[in-house]
């Protein structure tokens, strides 16, 4: 005892505690557990490691990963992380805090969530946002469930086949077990216009999985006419320049906050966001922070509208979500504060210029054709390779680049963010040009 850093107990402490409890040993505290269930012998785990040994263990593993220049997107984007963010989010008052149920000692958490909600509303143009979801795909799944909840007995949700594969896969999973009829289609307008569905909602990507900025003119009117809700799946970084869900007439906006400066980190932790029009406020899943005042009139923030949530409503709650991704919402909130409107405009401008440069240079190699010629894109685009995709991917990997993500149609997608330079793009293009593909 007293020999392990995280356990403060001396032998004397343990003796005092056992005496107060009136037992002779800690094992006696488990006397009500059938003896056959007490684990005997050693656990098959490594022996305790010192801090330096832990460090070395991870260093040896991380050295087995290959660091690549990222020219891929597919739902995770290599944007720069301002140095301020990890500095702020690693403050232990934020990092080691519990969910802000005790509002009097959680005003820091509650205030940044309120700021996050405001920023998500401003990005999407919608009225109300929640405190966060796990990630973009699960936020989309919650939006699908919300469409059903808002339209009562309607059970059909139409999803565009141009949504990201991981969004579609997550929608399929949630639909499968909750009795939702998920219809995937390339032509959302046609599917809805037929008018034969008991339509609860429609989910479309603001920017689709080929990087194309979609035009949803007239869609919201049609969906509403058929009695459903329109959900836009968005890249929040791109919302600084592309038409907002509110401008398209959508009821709900969801997406992944990763593009707001969150490191790639092999897919997580990221953060989902969700916003909606006022009329659907009480159907939103998850936590919501609201402004009020204390008895002395000081502005105060609290978790509010909790009658929607699992700890109050149990099986009648709007969702089962409890812990979400609060610290990552702080990450994005600090990011958007750092970037401001001008930074977001400039960043998107860089993405636009660099990705179009990459696009044009790749086409000029003669090794690709453009299946979506003339369609607008911002940072990610799809090409049809005139060679073996696997060979192309390997050639890029060998040169230290990660790009040319394959799609099920046989296209490859590339992405260039503000972190890529023209020199890096030239180097990638040179590799493609010179390789025997």
């Amino acid at each position: 005892m007293g020999t392990f850093a995280y356990f403060p107990h001396t032998e004397e402490d343990i003796r005092v505690m056992l005496e107060r409890v009136g037992v002779a040993s800690m094992d006696e505290l488990y006397a009500d557990v059938p003896a056959e269930f007490i684990h005997k012998g050693e656990y098959d785990l490594p022996s305790a490691k010192s801090e330096d040994e832990v460090r070395a263990w991870f260093e040896s593993l991380s050295s087995k990963n290959i660091k690549l220049k990222v020219f891929a997107g597919g739902g995770a984007y290599d944007h720069y992380t301002p140095s301020v963010i990890p500095y702020i989010t690693s403050r232990s008052e934020f990092l080691t805090a519990y969910t802000p149920y005790q509002c009097e000692i959680s005003q820091g958490t509650l205030r940044y969530i309120f700021e996050w909600q405001t920023m998500i509303c401003n990005l999407t143009g919608l009225d109300v946002a929640n405190a966060s979801m796990y990630d973009g795909p699960t936020a989309a799944a919650e939006a699908m469930r919300m469409c059903v909840a808002c339209t009562r007995k309607r059970k059909t949700v139409v999803a565009s086949s141009a949504l990201l594969p991981n969004v579609l896969a997550t929608l399929r999973t949630y639909a499968r077990y909750s009795g939702i009829n998920l219809v995937e289609t390339w032509d959302v307008t046609e599917a809805v216009a037929e008018g034969t569905l008991d339509l609860a909602g429609v989910i479309v990507p603001s920017i689709n999985r080929f990087g194309i900025i979609e035009n949803h003119t007239g869609l919201a009117g049609l969906v509403h006419e058929m009695g459903g809700l329109l959900v836009e799946y968005c890249d929040p970084s791109a919302l600084a320049v592309v038409k907002t869900p509110a401008e398209w007439g959508a009821d709900i906006a969801v997406g992944d906050g990763q593009s707001l400066g969150i490191p790639l980190c092999y897919g997580g932790p990221y953060v989902g966001f969700m916003a909606c029009r006022n009329e659907w406020m009480r159907k939103l899943p998850g936590r919501i922070v609201g402004q009020t005042a204390d008895a002395s009139g000081r502005r105060a923030f609290v978790l509010t509208l909790q009658a929607r949530e699992q700890h109050i409503r149990r099986e009648k709650a709007t969702s089962n979500i409890c812990s979400n991704e609060s610290l990552m919402a702080l990450w994005c909130t600090v990011y958007l504060s750092i970037m401001g409107p001008e930074g977001m405009r400039r960043l998107n401008g860089l993405c636009y210029e660099l990705s179009h440069y990459l696009h044009d240079q790749l086409l000029a190699t003669g090794k690709f054709t453009d299946p979506f010629e003339g369609r607008p894109f911002l940072k990610e685009f799809a090409l049809q390779p005139q060679c073996d995709t696997a060979r192309l991917q390997q050639v890029l990997l060998d040169a230290g680049f990660f790009g040319a993500l394959g799609t099920e149609e046989g296209y490859v997608t590339f992405c260039a963010t503000e972190r890529r330079t023209r020199e890096e793009i030239d180097a990638l293009v040179k590799v493609v040009k010179e390789a025997e593909l």
Binding site: L61, N65, Y177, Y266, G267, P269, R313, E315
Partner: protein, 458 residues
């Protein structure tokens, strides 16, 4: 803690900025109006020092594990080791879709964690896709449904949940399309096996249990319950929120559970982050392994950054110390219970595990559990979980962990006794508490009736 009343938007001045981008940027002009944003983007315009000072000031209105003790039932707020934070940045630059040949180190972390968690819990394999505990519950229930469906057993649409269960249990069941059937607790706080028996039948998908339960009591009839549920063709789900007292002592797999989740942000020391990110890996027994990858419940590979931290924790503890974690947490809980039961009502007299529940003060008068909780804040402690479980009107649910010293526990006990005395002597002091925090009790009714959910410029 000091009150600070600004929002980042209120620091904004047109033309200020804090971003840092290559100077080449900026000539991009949208080509046509139809697909581009028309509404001006309202974000703060602030400098870098503004941002740092603002969020530092916000942080100073927050309480965390590094600030003080959280006696928070069912939440397992243990110390978050700092080495766990340090190692994460080594893995930041890896794209989730990178091919396996470039991510061997990542795979080794997942493999290690799969093996370690299987060893610790007695399950066969884990999926790491779920991002939190409730997400794990949902995934586990999907696996249970998938198991029955894969056998053509489609009538199993009901799930049994004890009345003392965490709120997420019935909520997860509902999201998974299952109807909840409640099984009652006996006066001794354990699942009533006689009440359970008539519920079992060909429509039962399974039972969700946490063991120890939310009263901190070990469900000692678990063997009989497992036999009964398995006997009717159902499966047993283990809610890992209360795994801490069993860490290094008892394995859910050995008790007959088929599916379970762990909260890495509870039992495995990763920081709670003010409400996430968490991680809720789901483990299954042999007969469900082939279904493990079927529910695609999140975008990529789960919260890898959280999994890394939990991995560092297991390596630091090692097989020697893991055996102590659960035992020490149980000892701490019993120590507090025995030290406070003179002042607080203990509805069930029994050895507890990691947590226990008081039903308010013995001499309460006008003073409620909420008042006690708020007064604790004045003394520099977080409040316990209150008004849960629902079995008792004035529930006050206390869970210390193995990382709290005897001095801290004694300070907490002293303060709780002081509050009990104050309740009789100066009840108004409690009814108006807290007094030493950045804000006093807020008006929650107005917050819900006239919701103000975002900042609007004056």
């Amino acid at each position: 803690m000091r009150y600070y009343d600004k929002l980042i938007f209120e620091l904004s001045r047109p033309g200020r900025s804090a971003f840092s981008l290559p100077s080449e940027a900026g000539s991009f002009k949208p080509t046509s109006g139809s697909i581009w944003r028309e509404t001006p983007l309202d974000l703060p315009e602030v400098s870098e020092p503004d941002v740092v000072r603002h969020y530092t000031n916000l942080s100073q209105m927050n309480f965390g594990v590094d600030t003080g003790f959280y006696p928070l039932g069912s939440c397992t707020m243990k110390y978050n080791p700092k080495i766990n934070e340090e190692i994460v940045s080594q893995f930041n630059g890896i794209h989730p879709l990178q091919p396996a040949s470039t991510t061997e180190g990542v795979k080794a972390v997942y493999d290690f964690m799969d093996k370690a968690l299987a060893e610790i819990t007695g399950m066969k394999h884990f999926t790491f896709l779920p991002c939190a505990g409730a997400h794990g519950e949902l995934t586990g229930l999907m696996l249970i449904r998938e198991y029955h469906m894969s056998r053509g057993d489609s009538a199993r649409t009901k799930i049994i949940v004890p009345d003392s269960a965490h709120g997420t249990n019935p909520a997860s069941a509902a999201v998974c399309g299952l109807d909840v059937v409640v099984v009652k607790s006996r006066p001794d706080g354990l699942v009533d096996v006689e009440d359970l028996k008539p519920l079992l039948g060909p429509d039962i998908a399974g039972i969700m249990m946490t063991n120890p339960n939310t009263l901190g009591l070990f469900e000692r009839d678990i063997k009989e319950i497992a036999e009964l549920v398995h006997g009717c063709g159902g499966l047993l789900y283990y809610d890992g929120a209360n795994m801490n007292p069993l860490l290094g002592v008892v394995r859910p797999g050995d008790m007959g559970f088929d599916v379970m989740h762990l909260n890495l942000h509870k039992t495995f020391s990763t920081p709670h982050g003010g409400g996430g990110p968490g991680s809720g890996p789901v483990g299954v027994s042999e007969r469900l392994v082939h279904l493990l990858d079927k529910p695609r419940v999140s975008g990529f590979h789960g919260n890898f950054g959280v999994i890394l931290r939990a991995c560092a924790y297991i390596l630091s503890l090692g097989r020697e110390n893991i055996k102590l974690a659960g035992r020490l947490s149980t000892l701490a809980a019993n120590y507090i219970k025995e030290s406070l039961k003179d002042s607080f009502k203990l509805p069930i007299e029994s050895v507890c595990k990691h947590e226990f529940v008081f039903d308010g003060l013995r001499e309460a008068g006008e003073v409620t559990t909420l008042d006690v909780a708020k007064r604790l804040l004045d003394y520099g402690f977080h409040a316990p979980t209150i008004y849960f479980p629902l079995l008792f009107h004035q529930a006050l649910m206390i869970e210390p962990t193995e990382t709290e010293s005897l001095q801290t526990l004694d300070e907490f006990i002293d303060v709780m006794h002081t509050i009990a005395k104050e309740a009789s002597a100066t009840p108004d002091l409690l009814k108006t508490a807290p007094h030493n925090t950045p804000i006093g009790r807020p008006d929650e009714t107005t917050a819900a009736r006239q919701p103000v959910l975002k900042y609007s410029r004056q």
